[in-house]
Amino acid sequence: MSDQSTSSPSTPDIDTLEKGQEIGSREITFSRADLIAYAAASGDHNPIHWNERFAREVGLDGVIAHGMLTMGSAVDLVSSWAGDPGAVLDYQARFTKPVPVPDAEQGGPDTPTATLRISGKIGAVDAEAGTARVDLSVELLPQEPETEDAKPQKVLAKSQAVVKLA
């Protein structure tokens, strides 16, 4: 480690971390344009992520986000908290529910039609290894809050990142 990184004011102090401590939260939105951008950047061109008819033909209710887009965007909260994206040693998730990204009824294709709420808390601290495990909660928020029984839905399970802090 360089001097700069150890003296970085944004690096959390592992000695003061406790299990259950919150690292923050943020909301991320997805639009159809975001799915196209992820397809291009990742090389995952599965048409269920951009073609409505194809998605329905394989039994989905419509176009869904790449699971890897959800997983990949959720971890930035951890990178920001750790102060260094290179400190993320291990990152895993299970995909429990698809994230539907319907075509916007009006506006451009970059109009968001899905909103995720991401929050993280400390799941474990290993002082000897100098690592902390962050457990992420990733929920899809209802698009129309006024509809009945609309509540956030967990879309990732066991979403955990192990971060090197010391």
């Binding site: 950047a41 699971g67 990178s79 040693l89 990152y91 990142a161």
Partner: protein, 155 residues
């Protein structure tokens, strides 16, 4: 067509080496809405002690899926990609992937678990440097749903 459990443990030839460009790191970071400056600015990455731009933690999927294709497309393994649901994913990094890296990737069918008429296929991709040092391990599980005929037979 159904998944052939005898393929468990099979290792496929490595994919063509992948060269990580700054442009690819930035494009991927934008796509996953990553905000950290070390993905975009070399100065910010260097300040943290990295040689070049730091790829987001899930960038390894780009490298891994090129190797995974060998398994997915293997007729002997028998994965019907139109019936696949991504079940889980894990990245274990020995050191972060940086712009300028040349990465080799090789896939092994780690585990096949029969589930009714379908199967859970877990692949493991080892990403290594040209010197042969392990950089990252990417583990991915695909749930292969049975086709309707098999589902009926299993019911």
């Amino acid at each position: 067509m159904s998944v052939n459990t005898a393929r468990e443990g099979h290792q496929y030839p490595p994919a063509e080496p992948y060269q990580v460009s700054r442009e690819a790191v930035r494009e991927f970071a934008v796509a996953v809405k990553a905000e950290h400056r070390a993905h975009y600015e070399v100065d910010a990455a260097e300040l943290l002690g990295h040689r070049d731009l730091v790829a987001p933690p899930s960038f390894a999927v780009v490298v891994a899926q090129r190797a995974e294709a060998a398994a997915i497309e293997d007729p002997e393994l028998g994965v019907d990609f139109s019936r696949v649901v991504h079940a889980d994913e894990r990245f274990s990094h020995h050191s972060p992937i940086l712009a300028g890296d040349t990465l080799h990737a090789q896939v092994t069918v780690d585990r096949i678990r029969v589930m009714g008429a379908g199967a859970m296929v877990t692949t493991k991709v080892e990403i290594t440097t040209p010197e042969g040092d392990l950089r990252s391990t990417v583990t991915s599980s695909l749930l292969v749903r049975a086709d309707e005929e098999n589902e009926e037979a299993a019911a």
